[in-house]
Symmetry: C2
Subunit: 335 residues, 2 copies
């Protein structure tokens, strides 16, 4: 056995690292099969807008381009000045050749403001719901928080789900954390999750999706803890600490955008699944894998997220192909 | 002459303080007349949701209640826990007796998040456009930024405009800064404005409204300056400073949510109009009024904003009365 990477270290019994690239493979195969079945239709096209000089955004765009090429989809990266973005976005919203649109954030970033309302939040909602491949528009978040799963009366067109949160769910499904013996919508019954981050982009959608499937979710932010249960928000008993929440969790999702934030690995329950969605490592993975038995740990989820971008793009094509060709705007009615 | 307040100080020639309460009177009279003309219809009803313990929010709610009572409108303040707000809001969105809804921010406040997306921004967009008396929904901001002024093809139903920004515009109109000889949409031609704050709630809508009417607007935020001209965003010549922008401005709008931020009063152009929309005073008003000739200064705009709430509520009743009774949700199509 070669001595490279984490695998060489002594692992606690049953613990292992889960690689996003491996996990993404079957999802990408599904997409390839679906593209092949399109027969004569042009392959779905995603346009990504890059208006910053963030190397992480660039890297993500490069991964996306490579994966899309390999899987038979079209991806076009459009680099624009931040002040040109809104016009460019409006044109793309109306272009019948484009099936999906995404923006690499931050564009304007977070600036001090008068009781909230950033320009990046504005942009997120300015992507047409017919083309919102990231599912981050208010339209889709609102459906998710209400557990409304379809955009049509016939229940044939599923709502797009936010990509990174969806990547978390699909990772958990692949690791058999979901109980497939139970009916859809109940497959997390009895499970406890701790999600550290409550942004509208990652943490809150993850918590909502887990709760919609029956889990009890500790949603942890910098200054408080909520409990999400299906259709219900609650506060935990007074004095409940982050440590207690993490200790009770079968699933831990780490999303703190800070280099210094670390969860104590010794708190993680045996056999838990730990998924780090932050660009920073929010836990010491060596300690975690060496000391906690049965733990499965994913340190970087980006490549699963890219597979979910592909999946969502196929969904948009399926749902709205005719509407996009007809140049429809506004919002379809969610049911 | 009695020696009370600012009026007692030596004023520079032609300079004066403009009181929001006085300025609001004719707008409130218009509303009273419109309510009287409703004949048999129940008076329009606004529901305000208060989920914080912020004394400024409470004061604003109290002013609103008093003004509404005096002017023949209905106002109901609903105090709710922050975790109950979304459900309460959803019920109000559907209640056919309610014409308008507003939320007192902050509810959840600004928390560190993953590339933006706060729960307060989510809530702002969760108010139905049929009832969004503050005009802060993405739906109305998006129309404003595109200079789309109507929600119907017949141009009979004007878009709701954000209240505080609208209060700024109506203040300027009342002070004859708008040139009524010019056609609507051009009445700020040749005027220069400096708006310090670029939040989605105040500064950007103000800048957009002034630009939509023909002004050249310096939109100033903590780390940069943009120029808004009708339908166009630009960057000023390299090296343009906040001081230069303010010195060139016929209209200065101050909206910095910080106690320590002060614009140097000596920078203000003669005969300029200065409107402070922050809860903090962003300029030394005594120095301003004593030293700068012809300056008109409004230090607190809240009571004009309340008059605009009334005006917007009447607009919502006019635009959507039938839709609200029919329990419509979703978004009307803006033209």
């Amino acid at each position: 056995m070669q001595a490279t990477g984490v695998e060489e270290c002594a692992l606690a019994p049953g613990s292992r690292k889960v690689l996003a690239e491996e996990l993404a493979k079957p999802f990408r195969q599904e997409v390839r099969d679906a593209v092949a079945a399109l027969e004569g239709q042009p392959p779905p096209k995603l346009v990504g807008f890059l208006a910053n000089r963030d190397p992480a955004a660039k890297k993500y765009a490069t991964w996306t381009g490579k994966a899309f090429e390999a899987d038979g989809l079209r991806f076009e990266l459009r680099q624009v000045e931040e002040l040109e973005l809104e016009h460019a976005l409006e044109a793309a919203n109306k272009d019948p050749d484009i099936d999906g649109i995404m923006i690499y954030y931050p564009v304007f970033g977070q600036r001090p403001s008068f009781h909230g309302g950033s320009q990046d939040d504005y942009l997120r909602d300015a992507v047409s719901p017919y083309k919102d491949v990231e599912g981050l528009n208010h339209y889709y978040r609102s459906a998710l928080y209400r557990n409304n799963r379809f955009v049509d009366d016939a229940s044939a067109k599923k709502c797009v789900l936010p990509c990174t949160p969806l990547a978390v769910i699909k990772t958990l499904e692949s690791l058999d954390v979901y109980d497939s013996q139970l009916p859809v919508g109940n497959r997390m019954e009895g499970k406890v999750a701790a999600v550290i981050n409550r942004s509208e982009v990652v943490g809150r959608p993850v918590a909502a999706m887990l709760a919609n499937d029956g889990a009890t979710v500790y949603s942890i932010d910098i200054d408080n803890i909520y409990i999400f249960r299906r259709g219900k928000l609650d506060v935990p008993p007074a004095g409940t600490s982050i440590e207690e929440a993490v200790q009770s969790a079968d699933i831990v999702v780490l999303g703190v955008p800070s280099e210094s934030y670390k969860v104590d690995a010794s708190l993680i329950k045996e056999n838990a699944v730990v998924i780090n969605v932050s660009t920073y490592k929010n836990i010491d993975e060596k300690v975690l894998l060496a000391q906690r038995p049965g733990v499965r740990y994913m340190g970087q989820i980006g490549k699963v997220t890219v597979a979910m971008l592909e999946r969502n793009l196929m969904r948009l094509r399926h749902n709205f192909c005719q509407d996009v060709k007809a140049g429809k705007d506004g919002h379809p009615k969610i049911v």
